[in-house]
Amino acid sequence: MTSYVARRLLQAVPLLFGVLTLVFIFMHVAPGDPTALYMRPDVDPAVLEQMRRNWGLDQPLYIQYFRWIASFLTGDFGFSLTQNRPVSDILLERVPNTLILSGTSLLLIFAIGIAIGIVQAVRQYSTMDNVLTVGALFIYSMPSFWLGLMLILIFAYKVHQLDWWPEFLKFPASGVTSTNYDLFGAGQKLGDRIRHLVLPSIALGVSSAASVARYMRSSMLEVIRQDYIRTARAKGVPERSVILKHALKNALLPIITLLGLYLPFLFSGAVLVEYVFSWPGMGRTIVDAIYQRDYPTVMATSFIFAALVVVANLIADILYALVDPRIRYE
């Protein structure tokens, strides 16, 4: 197992280098550069030239590339050309925010998706099944940014005007924390963070939860028809235990593969949701950086995204081996 993990990680190295080289080439082939921010009639073009010199953008491309790779290998991501601070500072700040948001969504996706899937499978073709199927399809078809805006409109605005609406179900529209966060006590801080997390994680996760529910339903249905389930029932095992103990574990197998597939999907979804909720995460950072041609920031954020995807897939494969004894990695 250890050697398998080591091998997979080693395989990831050329992959990541390929990604970085491609991103580097694409970014520099794209027209414009970071001085575009300063392109105005009252700014002397000589000043822009000086900025390029200060940033080393006047060097030939291959020198810029090797310089970047060299400093990257020593763990130095360089300076953001638009935020005027070290890229590592930006990553330290933004990566946790994105991981918190995607992590919460992921939990939400699997908890809700699996629960609904089980209910639907057990009560196949019942009214409940049909209602949930239609509901899941409805939610699945909603784009996350639109859902986000609707959630804001309802839970961050309309309900604030209702006196009878419980206070704890009125949510803030944006940000990670309140403005006076630094004046709060520890408990209040945690509560504040959770309240800010509710709407964005729902917006990001709910449509995927709907699709997990679909997978879970069909996977569960397949398992329930198996002989050993019939045997378990025949032995007189209570239905609850048949479903949750015998059937669930096997039905979960295909779902675990989804985990590896959903993480990259969540990261890309985070771009839109972070925008709508002004959530200072990686998604917003990379999009802004691309538009402003902030080369060092784009390189670093793409690296982090690529690395996270590699790791997520690895975790999914390992989990697969853990739950399914038939699968062994040598």
Binding site: P45, R85, A156, Y157, S174, G175, R293
Partner: protein, 548 residues
């Protein structure tokens, strides 16, 4: 009197925090300025840096000038320079130039306790002039030569007399020499001073910056009484909210107090809510169509005028901006002293446009609905960058020009690749819609001077020797009564020649919670008098619903 109020208010604040709801403060309905409270201002873009050597964006500038630092001079309501950190100044002739002497306030200190002195001004000036700094606005100081410290609070500057030489100093706050003095010019940009721990000398001092999220400032109790003393607010927070719908919801539910740059479609909701009001002011930004006069179709001023006449600019303003704007007649903003008060924008007159086009030889001879002349079809590509307002303009212009037999092919192009095409010396475009933000000290030479024809911003490839003469004079003379007639003539010529079709000046609308009082916003900016803002005195600084 003011001091007495602090007591009452902080008591009220305390009670409110404990019980978590709003407490009426006695029966006082009279509104008196009181200290305390937090105001949250939200805008869609980050204020990039508090380091004046680096930043060029609007709100970095505003926060620097009006909150964190003090500038030597500021503008009064008629855009005349008035004293601020410099309590007075004088000028004397020196050779063929000028000596400008600033006498600084002697009671302003940096927030770490060090006094602000003439050495800070000299340091700032020297770095501005150092090419290694790559100071974006270095051009403003092009006619300045050197600075000499006379004594701790007196600094003399040597320069060539030119128009608005005092105005160079507005929006350039001196930076602290005792902190940045030893930083090499090329490293100033990346110094943590700008984003992590700025030290100012203004009415507000720095508390926290979370990039992309917020800047937090608090009142500076030591701000000199002679400059207005401590601001009323305890805290000023600048938040970044990118999505307009989110900003609107946040304003209406009280999460934020000032929503800067409201979308035209949101105006009604803010006006209708009893908790919010709308404050509008004219800005320095205008939207225009640039005609590439190197193209046969746009070479003739008559054709350009015909195109302007054929475009219903009033309808564009109504439909894309909900009327939040003023029709433009040139690059001079309507509030500016140099504005031509009696000139009217060209009317919407498609019939005259048709006649002018025909007279210029553009006639539809093959009956396909598009005019031609000498084998060239009156058809062109009209571009813009991705921006819904401007994309809508393309469509409206396309419709209007089709009526007069001119074909428009709209194209939306990513901002930087569009910028590459239009700034290239070959001018690889026909026409485009973009916007400019002018300076208070107008200088259109880079846009319209013949000498700039291959420069990056002479997009119209427009050349008129008389315009060159005028632009040279208005930028070198400093007497407004002498330059005003020249400015007026300039606007008349531009109106005649139409290198651009000027569409409209923006009017900015800011949504403001009713609880924030004494808010003045005008062409100088949204935060112009932020140190005089205060919270309605029977409020408590805790937003309704206790969300803060």
């Amino acid at each position: 009197m003011r001091r007495a109020l602090i007591g009452t208010l902080s008591l009220a604040l305390l009670t409110a925090t404990c019980t978590g709801d709003r407490q009426p403060e006695g029966d006082s309905t009279a509104v008196t300025p009181g200290y305390g409270g937090t105001v949250v201002v939200a805008y869609l873009a980050e204020a990039s840096s508090m380091n004046t050597f680096v930043s060029i964006d609007e709100f970095s500038q505003e926060l620097q000038s009006y909150a964190l630092f003090t500038t030597l001079l500021k503008y009064d309501e008629e855009l005349n320079p008035i004293p601020y950190l410099a309590q007075r100044w004088d000028t004397a002739a020196a050779g063929d130039g000028l000596v400008l002497t600033f006498y600084l306030q002697d009671d302003v200190t940096w927030h770490d306790g060090t006094p602000t002195t003439a050495y800070d001004v000299k340091f700032t000036f020297d770095r501005i002039k150092d090419p290694g700094t790559a100071y974006p606005r270095a051009a403003r100081f092009a006619a300045y030569d050197s600075a000499v410290v006379r004594d701790s609070f007196t600094v003399a500057l040597f320069l060539k007399r030119h128009s608005g030489f005092l105005e160079s100093w507005i929006s350039v706050p001196p930076m602290p020499a005792h902190i940045l003095g030893n930083v090499p010019a090329a490293d100033l940009r990346l110094h943590p001073f700008g984003t992590a721990n700025p030290v100012g000398n203004g009415p507000f001092r720095f508390v926290e910056h979370r990039p992309g999220e917020h800047w937090v400032f608090e009142a500076n109790p030591g701000f000199p009484e002679s400059l207005g003393g401590r601001p009323f607010l305890d805290r000023l927070v600048y938040r970044v909210i990118t999505e307009p719908t989110t900003s609107l919801a946040s304003l209406l539910n009280g999460e934020i107090d000032v929503y800067i740059s409201v979308e035209p479609s949101q105006v009604t909701q803010i006006e209708e809510s009893s908790d919010t009001r709308l404050i509008t002011y004219p800005t320095r930004s205008y939207t225009f169509i640039n005609w590439n006069s190197r193209r046969p179709l746009f070479r003739d001023a008559v054709v350009r005028r015909a195109l302007t006449l054929a475009i219903d600019r009033q309808r564009i303003l109504e439909s894309v901006k909900n009327g939040l704007g003023t029709l433009a007649l040139g690059s001079v903003p309507p509030f500016h002293w140099a504005f031509h008060q009696t000139l009217q924008p060209l009317p919407y007159d498609p019939d005259s446009a048709q006649a002018l086009l025909a007279a210029a030889g553009w006639i539809d001879s093959d009956g396909d609905g598009i005019r031609e002349r000498e084998g060239v079809r009156a058809s062109f590509e009209l571009r813009t960058n991705p921006n819904t307002t401007r994309e809508d303009i393309l469509t409206l212009v396309q419709g209007d020009l089709a009526e007069v037999g001119v074909e428009v092919r709209p194209r939306v192009q990513e901002a930087q690749s569009l910028a590459m095409d239009i700034t290239s010396a070959e001018r690889r475009f026909d026409a485009f819609v973009l916007g400019w933000v002018t300076e208070f000290r107008l200088d259109d030479r880079s846009l319209f001077a013949c000498s700039q024809i291959d420069g990056p911003y002479q997009w119209a490839s427009y050349c008129n020797p008389r315009v060159d003469e005028i632009l040279a004079q208005v930028t070198s003379l400093d007497d407004r009564s002498v330059t005003l007639p020249l400015w007026r003539e300039y606007q008349e010529i531009i109106q005649q020649d139409q290198p651009y079709t000027f569409l409209y000046y923006d009017v900015r609308a800011n949504g403001t919670r009713e609880r924030v009082l004494n808010v003045r916003m005008d062409m100088r900016g949204s935060l112009t008098n932020v140190k005089d803002w205060y919270i309605e005195s029977n409020e408590t600084g805790i937003a309704p619903g206790g969300k803060e």
